[in-house]
Amino acid sequence: MQDAVLAMLAKEPSHGYHLHARLRRVLGPLGESMNRGQIYVTLARLERAGLVVCERADGLPERPERKVYALTPAGQQRVAAWLAEVGWPKPDLAEFHLKLAAAAAARLADPVELVAAQRRELLRHLREAQQAALAEPAGSGAGLLLEGVALRLQADLRWLDACERAWSGADDEVEGG
């Protein structure tokens, strides 16, 4: 959550309600349960951590909606590190989805490159699971567990294919890579 909010600010400084709206738009029905209070709590934590600064809009009463949040240099570094991180196993699809959206919006990274890096990581895991499965005698319980691991990895890889197709279509510059 913190990383996603930070990354959303990478494009431009934003009001809390604007951030909330963007997150909900990107997440669709999955973001419906997210309330504005969560965003403000997250922003306050990020501010305390020195990752964002808050500027109050001129001449308005102190209401949280009137604050504009922006990344500090430390916040920018954290966003860059988050985008570059290939986190798995962490079956958090929403986080990766937000990462791609944030990367594209702020033009900080090529979403297709992020997908490719993630795919390489998953393939390595799948390779390990497959080799372990092949080494198991037929009918072993561990083999069944590894089968489940492999199937989940396979599902994630197929979803990454869908991500790649979507983000390749979204940006013609991808062709050069």
């Binding site: 196993p89 962490k90 079956p91 490719a116 795919r119 390489r120 393939l123 390595r124 895991h125 799948l126 390779r127 390990e128 699971a129 497959q130 080799q131 372990a132 499965a133 092949l134 080494a135 037929a138 567990l145 089968e147 489940g148 691991v149 492999a150 989940r152 990895l153 396979q154 890889l157 197929r158 294919d161």
Partner: protein
């Protein structure tokens, strides 16, 4: 690049289908080197050109442009006869639909390419029984394909592909018609082949098959869009790939199976 170590090599490979405005480049300016002992998987959506690429590399189809080399010899300029001889002696093919001769037994199917390559009946028989043993089908040698399961048929097809000691085995969706258990049987055989130093090129849309390769190329619209080294250097020693990655795999997978927070 060390040319001498590449069993298969392609330079500027192009294959177009159709003519006029409807012309498509199934394979579009592809460069590739497959070193001795490497297991290479080529993945991509249907229609991306991966099967065409396999046919070009194996001498089943001729390129529109570019060069194909097999073991240091250029093959795209060979005569039909010389090309057919090269295919019999130097390459083995495994197809999705098995392509066994239904009237012949498993053993006879395996013997056939050996006989066509000029081996004696006795040599062919010995070699076939050895290979059927290797793929775990010694007891099915006298069966007709119709009496074998899909997985068993594909293992016969693998044995047949190996009968002339090919420089490289080309497999086109080898598990496309198989269930999970049969897929694992075929993958186990491929794993053994790799350990024995066999060069393998596998075209597949199955991530689990692709993940067993040393190297994975992703293909889109006739071009390579990604080339990932998954493990090993494909030198054919067979020691590094199976055991080397074993260290800590559980650590990596622990999170997924719920052993970690």
């Amino acid at each position: 690049m060390n040319v001498s170590s590449a069993v298969v090599r392609a330079r500027g490979l192009v294959r177009t289908h159709g003519r006029g405005p409807g012309r498509v480049r199934a394979v579009d300016e592809v460069d590739l080197e497959v070193p001795q002992g490497q297991t290479l998987a080529v993945m991509g959506p249907s229609g991306c050109g991966k099967s065409t690429l396999l046919h070009l590399l194996g001498g089943l189809e001729r390129p529109t442009g570019g060069e194909v080399w097999m073991d240091g010899r250029r093959i795209d300029t060979l005569s039909e006869r010389a090309l057919a001889r090269m295919r019999r002696r130097s390459v083995g093919f495994v197809f999705q639909a098995f392509h066994l001769v239904e009237e012949l037994t498993a053993a006879e199917n395996v013997e056939l390419p050996a006989l066509l390559a000029g081996r004696s009946r006795r040599q062919a028989r010995r070699r076939a029984s050895l290979l059927l043993e290797r793929v775990g089908l010694a007891d099915r040698a006298r069966h007709l394909p119709s009496r074998l399961s899909g997985g068993q048929r594909q293992r016969v097809a693998v044995a047949r592909a190996l009968v002339n000691d090919p420089l490289v085995v080309f497999a086109d969706e080898p598990t496309g018609n198989l269930d999970t258990a049969a897929t694992l049987d075929v993958l186990r055989i491929f794993e053994d082949l790799r350990a024995a130093g066999q060069t393998l090129v596998i075209v597949t849309h199955d991530e689990r098959v692709a993940a067993t390769a040393d190297r994975l190329i992703s293909m889109r619209d006739g071009m390579f869009v990604d080339d990932t080294r998954l493990a090993g250097t494909g030198t054919g020693t067979g020691t590094g790939t199976g055991t080397g990655t074993g260290t800590g795999w559980l650590g990596g997978l622990g999170g997924l199976i719920g052993l970690e927070g």
